[in-house]
Symmetry: C2
Subunit: 210 residues, 2 copies
């Protein structure tokens, strides 16, 4: 079982998953912490620490079994099961997420979008319906979604999160530029695009000063 | 002058900027580390440490001048100047970024998009032109862009970054799911959407286990 895993390690888990998949595709069966570190831009001791913290798979001198380690990481991350999503907000960002082919390839399936704009609702298709936001609770009963994606104006985000929670949704992927309040049994990951752009601006400025 | 600022503090800078703007809008002139901490979900001592690390604005017992502190943070982040951007890839994600109204409001202006698909190039308008990617170097001479946004398939991302670098671009906002290689005088901020979705999956799984 995994013990305490730090935030920094959690942020690196997807990179482990990605690099191990590449190794599998290259037909590589085993890899040392040195080689894996070189690929990922980490020291061998960081690699060993990370992997120890989520389960202890190292065997001194033998390296890691690529396939076994990847399966373990995917299991820890819940990626060995499928996840159904609904997207609230069918504007450009909501549509971009709905149509991103990388997500279903990794087991994340968008079941429906919701909006209040009749023009956007008419844009829905049989495979990717756009329902009126008033139907959210009703539709969620049959959609079996576990993730709610918020791609709507910030002023509607908190109310929508509350409605999703009451309908049983416990995971939110939030693209609205607002800090949401949520119960402790809800998981929320924010993508504050403006914040990231500001961080890029900061980094540019620091480099100009060097 | 700002001294060493840790990655964790850098990630919090946009939140400082956002909360201080809200305080300004509410007409609040001064705030204590306790009150600012309550708003931001940080301890007063974290607030004081953060603000000390980027310039030392605290006056014991008096709190912070909201307007002065925000101006200082905006200056540190380079947000007191405008930034022009070009977006490479005019698909749904590129278009969503180009049309996001929050960016120009914060001084980030998209000057043009680039694509190789004639249908997408025809979608360009006078205010938001879409040029052929072959014209990238030529157009960059007159666009005065400083940020290149990569919203294109992963297999084209590295080559495009190299071309942008040779044209003088030193900041990249990368939405392609790939780890890019770049010279040390280039700033890169990644938005790996699939990685974030995997982190959400991990957090859901941990909560189910609790």
């Amino acid at each position: 079982m995994a013990g305490y895993v730090s935030d920094a390690v959690i942020r690196r888990l997807p990179a482990y998953n990605r690099h191990l998949r590449e190794l599998e595709e290259e037909g590589i069966l085993q890899i040392s912490s040195q080689e894996l570190g070189d690929r990922m831009g980490l020291t061998p001791s960081q690699i060993r620490q990370d992997i120890n913290s989520f389960g202890g798979f190292g065997r001194q001198g033998y390296g890691y079994q690529v396939k076994e380690l990847r399966q373990h990481i995917r299991h820890i991350m819940g990626l060995d099961q499928e996840h159904r999503m609904v997207i609230i907000g069918a504007g450009r960002m909501g549509q971009a997420i709905a149509n991103y082919t990388g997500f279903p390839r990794q087991g994340f399936f968008t079941e429906a979008l919701f909006d209040i704009d009749p023009a956007k609702i008419r844009m829905g298709t049989a495979e990717m319906p756009v329902y009126h936001a008033d139907e959210l609770e009703e539709r969620l009963k049959e959609l079996h979604a576990v993730i709610g994606v918020l791609a709507l104006p910030p002023e509607a985000a908190q109310d929508t999160l509350d409605r999703l929670y009451r309908s049983g949704i416990r995971a939110i992927w939030n693209f609205s530029p607002v800090d949401l309040h949520y119960p402790p049994d809800m998981a929320v990951v924010n993508v504050h695009l403006s914040d990231l752009l500001q961080i890029l601006s900061y980094q540019m400025k620091r480099q100009q000063e060097e």
